[in-house]
């Protein structure tokens, strides 16, 4: 996958931006390596590791057995002892196979060791429904990870952020999960060729507005922006914030927005109950209760496993139409 050098501006799909992010890290950091199932010879099932084996060789781009516990343990052990691993967890759902390494080892080791261990490990994983992949290949489990003190979690919503967040994650000396989205792989935009970071822990206002603030995560940012367009037609001007980072969460940017709009709607693809939206809602109330003119609302998936049937999956995944409805409801329209 050796892309010919083109003059700027250069447009890249999300999938190739991920590739470039990993490639940049492997070029910049001699102690880094990439390990995961089918990442080397096959270039990953999503194609985002294409060409990496060719460029970096089998010492640094490593096909592993189907052993998520082992793979994640590799990341913990190697990062604690001087390497900077990039671990690929093919589907976020497979967290179930390796949650001990993630939750009890990776996230806690530094603290438990009194600060004597440093774990600069980056985990790339793929979340999200929409492809008829059913209950075990479609989940959005970022709240599981964000609940772990010691863990950082980011959700790049577009190609630019995907590249920049992978680089930022790899430069961070903490464990960072980069939660990618499989429905976004073909989504293209301008992506600089040079190395750059998208800072972890900073939200960004994607669209300015005055009537209500939508805080969206991952691919839901695009649904929120669609909804914002539709709402223009009925004379509403909503602000859309891309949270980008789940842990740490950028409360300040959100609160500043709400002090302006006085209303908040949180959108994520994960199920509503126990989803990160509940936490954000609580933080807003703690910090900006007096500024609120309406209850904080949420749009999220219903409390069910992701259904296979396309008829149900369509209903399951939050979308722009649902956001429009909820915005109007919040505004009493």
């Amino acid at each position: 996958m050796s892309e010919a050098k083109k003059p700027e501006p250069r447009v890249l799909p999300y999938v190739l931006a991920i590739n470039e992010g990993i490639r940049t890290v492997l070029r910049e950091q001699d102690d880094s390596f990439l390990a995961g199932e089918d990442v080397a010879a096959a270039g990953s099932v999503y194609g985002y590791c294409g060409g990496l084996l060719d460029e970096f060789g089998s010492r640094r781009v490593i096909d592993t057995p189907i052993s998520e516990k082992g793979i994640m343990g590799l990341g913990v052990g190697a990062s604690a002892t001087g390497c900077r691993p990039i671990i690929d967890l093919m589907f976020m759902d497979f967290l179930g196979e390796c949650m001990d390494e993630v939750a009890n080892q990776m996230a806690k080791m530094r603290f438990m060791f009194g600060g004597k261990a440093t774990l600069p490990v980056t985990v790339l994983t793929m979340g999200g429904a929409g492809g008829g992949m059913a209950a075990q290949h479609s989940q959005s489990l970022e709240a599981w990870l964000a609940h772990l003190p010691g863990m950082k979690v980011v959700m790049p919503s577009d190609a630019y952020d995907a590249k920049g967040m992978i680089i930022a994650a790899a430069r961070d000396d903490n464990p960072v999960f980069v939660v990618l989205n499989k429905q976004s792989l073909a989504m293209s935009m301008e992506v600089p060729e040079e190395s750059y970071e998208v800072p972890i822990g900073e939200a960004v206002v994607r669209k300015q507005g005055t009537d209500l603030t939508i805080v969206a995560f991952g691919r839901m940012v695009h649904e929120a922006l669609d909804a914002a367009e539709q709402l223009k037609d009925v004379g509403l001007n909503v602000e859309v914030i891309d949270a980008r980072s789940v842990q740490p969460f950028d409360t300040a940017t959100v609160v500043a927005s709400i002090k302006k709009t006085h209303r908040a709607l949180i959108v994520h693809e994960a199920v509503k109950f126990g989803g990160i939206g509940g936490e954000i809602s609580a933080q807003i109330q703690e910090e900006a209760f007096d500024y609120l003119d309406a209850p904080i609302m949420r749009v999220a998936a219903p409390f069910s496993p992701v259904p296979f049937s396309p008829a149900l999956e369509k209903l399951y995944i939050p979308n722009a139409a649902g956001i429009v409805t909820k915005v109007k409801e919040t505004l009493g329209l």
Partner: protein, 415 residues
């Protein structure tokens, strides 16, 4: 998607190991009428085998007949592991059994071919992992089971369900996501299941099945019935911790469980030589403390006999067995395309197709006078008609209704 890659040392080693693998296979075939004894050096292993089970002495070549109930100490260096014999049983299966196994294989093959085609035509959402090439394994094992016996399947699960008695109509309906499907359209290919048939589900999680099969075997033992459970899993899955934990517990509790490893030489796009340092998954049996058996997974009779022995042992309280069936998937990991792939050669595919389980078994059926070519063709045609009817049924079936989304998340009394 997959990139062309340079030949690395690992790749070359892989090719070498693959070669070893196919050689081994033919050895398995040739020594089919013999039981080859395994060796072991570890004293504790010897002790254990002595206390628990039969084992063999002597070198690989010698034939040791396993005494039915007697316990013989092992002096082998690899713990009890045998190569399954083929066609050595005196009381061969009846013609009805032969026909039933053939029917299972053919039904699986035609179902999968059709399903794959439908996926390519965009009629089936999601991912289909097809079983074409491996039919002998499901058919030979399932021939010994009733609906009371449990199986757990894999992401490549249609074949197991068809062999367990799955019907085409609700299967296609499930693949199409319709409410008339086995799982009301909520599970799809990767979660297709039927509890009434003793089928505890395909599984989207590699290595997800074996612990569940172990639990089902526990349930059978707990209730004191004679039912068994079978865990199907792949060579790739054999590297999951869940498989090791399930096998250890099954051996420890002497559960009526058979672990059937369908070694098709690849986990997704990674050849076996690149995902584990062993050639025979059955080697691990000694580490669990159960017999390990290898059989030719392209020969339904070999599978039938090896599985029969293991299942009989499980039913009669003799505990679990690890049965490794050497097999091959003709298609790609997902979908149909089988040839022109970067991770394996067309020659390799062709070589395996020459050993096709259905072709060779049909020849045998004709030779034995069990069925004529004409009867076989008629059967094939009838299956074809049944398939088209089922596809029509599935296409005409309704999708689940919105209220079904929140249904069955929990068991609700009286609902």
């Amino acid at each position: 998607m997959a990139q062309a890659k340079k030949k690395t040392a690992a790749k070359k080693a892989a090719a070498k190991k693959t070669a070893t693998r196919s050689t081994k296979k033919s050895v398995v075939k040739k020594s089919a009428t013999k039981k080859v004894a395994a060796k072991s050096t570890k004293k504790s292993v010897v002790k254990k085998s002595a206390a628990k089970k039969v084992a063999a002495k002597s070198t690989k070549k010698s034939v040791v007949k396993k005494p039915a109930a007697k316990k013989v100490a092992a002096k082998a260096r690899k713990a009890p592991r045998t190569v399954a014999k083929k066609g050595a049983s005196n009381k061969g299966p009846s013609n009805a059994t032969l026909k039933a196994m053939h029917l299972k294989m053919l039904r699986i093959r035609r179902f999968e071919e059709r399903a794959g085609k439908l996926m390519e035509d965009g009629k089936v959402p999601g991912a289909l992992h097809l079983y074409v090439g491996q039919e002998a394994v499901a058919s030979g094992v399932m021939q010994h089971l009733s609906n009371e016996d449990w199986i757990t399947s894999t992401h490549r699960g249609h074949g197991h369900l068809v062999a367990k008695g799955g019907e085409f109509k609700p299967m296609f309906a499930e693949l199409f996501g319709r409410s008339t499907g086995y799982c009301n359209g909520k599970g799809g290919s990767m979660h297709i299941s039927n509890m009434d048939l003793g089928m505890l589900g395909a599984n989207g999680i590699v290595g997800g099945g074996p612990p569940i099969a172990m639990g089902a075997a526990f349930s059978n033992q707990f209730k004191g019935n004679k039912n068994v459970s079978i865990a199907f899993f792949g060579d790739g899955a054999s590297n999951e911790g869940s498989v090791h934990e399930a096998a250890n517990m099954a051996a420890l509790y002497k559960l009526p469980c058979v672990f059937v490893c369908e070694n098709n030489g690849y986990g997704e796009y990674t050849p076996q030589a690149d995902h584990q340092a062993i050639v025979d998954v059955a080697d691990r049996a000694s580490g669990y403390g159960m017999p390990g058996v290898i059989c030719d997974g392209m020969d339904v009779m070999a599978v039938y006999e090896a599985a029969g022995e293991a299942i009989e042992r499980a039913r009669s309280g003799g505990g679990p067995t690890l049965l490794e069936c050497k097999t091959y998937r003709y298609y790609d990991h997902v979908g149909i395309r089988g040839m022109g792939l970067t991770y394996r050669t067309d020659e390799e595919v062709e070589a395996w197709k020459k050993k096709d389980a259905i072709n060779s078994f049909e020849k045998r059926l004709i030779q034995l006078g069990v069925m004529s070519r004409k009867q076989l063709d008629a059967l094939d045609a009838a299956i074809g008609e049944e398939l088209e009817e089922a596809i029509q049924y599935a296409s005409d079936s309704p999708y689940p209704t919105p209220d079904q989304l929140l249904e069955d998340v929990y068991y609700v009394k009286g609902a």
